[in-house]
């Protein structure tokens, strides 16, 4: 699945959320539904995977995620097993940490515009415990689609062979990817009402592929199909509404 335009992405997210909500509302009354909007942060490390014969320099762009927003919808039928859907959006950019060849170059500046990173996941959840006042502790395993749209990044560096300043303009073309979230969610209600507070922690495994091109130096496709892999700890917090 490759959805490239922003309106298409928004429509997909909206329809996905709407359909799930309608399904939830039509279910039996003893089922519980939790809508949990919040913010999250990835403490992450991106790595790249490429054929060393194709990319002998072994220096690749680095990605960096900024804090983002998240909506978690939990369906809890009678019993311990339930289902969870989580959608997230965050700004993404090229940090440029190892963009340049550090054996022959000294980096001066990387300028970039902030791109977008969004994902949709779904999967089972398991409610470990429910407290006397309605607080819950649950675990989940979610998987889904991820798309990282990076804007161009301009790199200015010093070539240590002639000490002159040079420039590269990297362009990124996303090919989509996948994301896995494994973690737990703890929530506590405010008094006896439907509103509450939640904290969520996840181990994140993700991969996205990008075609990376140097627009200025006309090397055609510079790094085609470069795989970016992410391992991260993800922390979220926000409000929770029980229906």
């Amino acid at each position: 699945m490759l959805i490239t335009s922003l309106p298409m992405r928004c429509c997909t997210l909206f329809l996905f959320t709407l359909l799930f909500s309608i399904t939830c509302l039509q279910a039996q009354r003893e089922h519980s539904f939790y809508f949990s909007p919040g913010v999250f942060y990835f403490l992450s490390e991106w790595s790249t995977d490429a054929d060393p014969e194709v990319y002998p320099s072994n220096f690749f762009p680095d990605l960096q995620d900024d804090p983002g927003g998240q909506l978690v919808i939990t369906w809890q039928p009678p019993g311990r097993f339930g289902a969870m859907v989580s959608v997230g959006y965050q700004p993404a950019r090229v940090s440029g940490g190892s963009l340049y060849n550090r054996q022959t170059e000294v980096r001066q500046v990387v300028e970039y515009d902030v791109g977008t990173d969004w994902w949709v996941t779904a999967g089972p959840s398991f409610c470990l415990d429910v407290g006397p006042s309605g607080g819950r502790l649950s675990f989940h395993l979610l998987g889904g689609y991820r798309q990282v749209n990076l804007e161009n990044a301009m790199e200015t560096y010093i070539d240590l062979t002639d000490f002159n300043r040079k420039t590269r303009l990297y362009s990124f073309s996303d090919q989509g990817g996948w994301i896995l979230l494994a973690g737990g969610k703890a929530s506590a209600p405010f008094g006896n009402g439907p509103f509450g507070f939640f904290i969520m922690g996840n181990l994140v495994f993700s991969q996205t592929k990008q075609d990376v091109t140097d627009l200025l130096n006309a090397d055609d496709l510079f790094l085609p199909g470069l795989k970016f892999r992410q391992r991260a700890l993800m922390g979220s917090l926000g409000l929770s509404v029980k229906l």
Binding site: R107, D129, L160, D162, F163, A186, A188, G201
Partner: protein, 197 residues
């Protein structure tokens, strides 16, 4: 309360994770500040577009080479009888990546017999003549660049405080490779502060 225990547990795990974040590496692109030049002995210039400043020591190991900026070797000699001053400036610039040197250069400036009145406001031309030399030794590329009459470096003294011995000078110009290629390199935005012995 049982529910709050879960919240505290997750908060604690989050704080521990945040504490594991890495620090950023040293940025070698920042020109020394006015405060650096005023308070410490400092030298910096651009070699073409490379910001050249003393980094590392010739004999230091990779561990000890902690990029101490602008701790450079120089010596001065003042003759009280004739009131002239002599400077020998010998800083190194060494950059490493994964224990491998990617830049190893030594700058040598010899400025002999400078009359005291020039230290407050005056110029000296480094053109390779006796006592007016500038060399850059590029060990990795096995090259030497030097000032010559055609490619010289103009050094302008701008301030001298006799009480403290603080001297400040600006310099710019060009140097040329001594090998057959004779590549010319620009020297710009040069600035140095020293203290007379």
């Amino acid at each position: 309360m049982k529910d709050m225990r879960y919240l505290l547990l997750f908060t604690l795990l989050g704080c521990l994770s945040y504490g594991c974040e890495k620090t950023t590496p040293y940025d070698e692109t920042t020109y020394p500040s006015e405060e650096d030049f005023a308070l410490t002995d400092t030298i910096a210039f651009y070699l073409n577009d490379l910001l050249w400043q003393p980094l590392g020591r010739r004999s230091s190991s990779a561990v000890l080479q902690a990029y101490k900026i602008n701790r450079f070797d120089y010596s001065t000699f003042s003759d009280p009888l004739s009131d002239v001053h002599t400077f020998w400036i010998r800083p190194f610039m060494i950059l490493r990546y994964e224990d491998r040197r990617i830049l190893h250069q030594k700058l040598e400036m010899e400025i002999k017999q400078v009359p005291a009145e020039l230290l407050s406001e005056g110029t000296v031309l480094l053109d390779g003549s006796d006592g007016r030399t500038m060399h850059i030794y590029d060990d990795l590329n096995d090259r030497v660049y030097q000032a010559t009459p055609e490619h010289s470096v103009l050094l302008t003294f701008t301030s001298f405080e006799p009480a403290s011995g603080r001297v400040e000078a600006f310099f710019s110009g060009s140097v040329i490779g001594t090998d057959t290629a004779s590549v010319v390199k620009r020297i710009s935005n040069g600035r140095v502060t020293m203290t007379l012995e």
